[in-house]
Symmetry: C2
Subunit: 200 residues, 2 copies
């Protein structure tokens, strides 16, 4: 029974927000090796404050990942309510790639992907993806042998591919999303040579 703890102080709330933003920027610029000291400097706080809010660097990473996955989760729910099956799939993949184009933080998953709070956020998101994918398959706008897990895995590929091109157009990922979407259509699909995976 957690007694009603007194609410956090205003400066603590502000600093937490500043830290998450600074950390996301710093990670995007320098990868996972961005140092806690630099993150603190960018947020305009002392290094000790970082560790007051996030016990370890991995906890900080986990908080960023969780936020981003929940963002996509909510976007997916909106699309399920508003868009038709084909458009929802297309828009969701576009939203996911767009988020990553703005700031590529995918490598953070490698550091904190197995933490429980991150896994929970991922499950929320994959649940939504499953619903989008099932609807698309049932309406015949997606090939029959593709699962929600497949789409979850394919989701990040366009940015990854475009990321190899230095000074690429910021829209290059759309090109490879186009190729993948063509590969996901039911017309002309050839049987896939390996079974659909499941996560954990």
């Amino acid at each position: 029974m957690t007694a009603a703890a007194r609410p956090p102080r205003a400066d603590a709330v502000r600093n937490r927000r500043l830290l998450l933003a600074a950390a996301a920027d710093e990670f995007a610029e320098h990868g996972l090796d961005a140092s806690v000291a630099d993150i603190a400097r960018r947020a305009g706080v002392g290094k000790g404050t970082v560790f007051r809010h996030f016990a370890t660097k991995d906890d900080l990473v986990a908080a960023i990942l969780t936020d981003r996955m929940d963002e996509l989760h909510h976007r997916g729910e909106e699309l399920l309510a508003a868009a038709d099956a084909a458009a929802a799939l297309h828009e969701f993949l576009t939203a996911a790639a767009g988020q990553r184009q703005e700031r590529d933080l995918s490598f953070l998953a490698e550091a904190a992907g197995s933490m429980p709070e991150v896994a929970a956020a991922r499950d929320r998101m994959t649940g939504t993806i499953d619903r989008i994918v099932d609807r698309a398959r049932e309406e015949g706008v997606l090939r029959a042998d593709i699962t929600g897990t497949d789409v979850f895995l394919l989701m990040c590929a366009p940015n990854y591919i475009a990321g190899y091109v230095p000074d690429a157009s910021p829209d290059l990922w759309r090109r490879y999303l186009g190729v993948i979407l063509d590969g996901l259509r039911p017309e002309g699909a050839r049987p896939l040579p390996a079974e659909a995976p499941t996560l954990a």
Copy 2:
């Protein structure tokens, strides 16, 4: 005019081979952060010996990358000589993904991708890819709007996608290569929303 230097000693040749193999294993297991000390231990030599053969850690990375790219380059040349256009494209992509499935060292490119020797090896390889792709396009087994650079970029995606699945079947990448190959066929291709990139 480099005067004929005396050939390297037998133990130096042997140690260089041992080091490259040990480094590839160590990088595959621990990523770019594999330490030079561990690599030396695995090769059964002292740490100083590593730096005698490779002035910096990046030079070691570059040597590994160069070897692997040249391997694919030669495989591509074989396929150009022996296989028909569609099979050559299919087989080349399979070979590239197979190499990476065995040992994923793609992240090394991020550390040494801009070194001249690595760039030269990459150019040799992309030259071969261009020939494979041009032939496939001309014979109508590849959609018209796809370039050699596109294929080079798409080449690594199947492993990347499958890499997100812990304990995945070692053949899972074939599934996503299948999706991409379907997306590369001329039949039913929709116009791509961004122009083909060029590398440097």
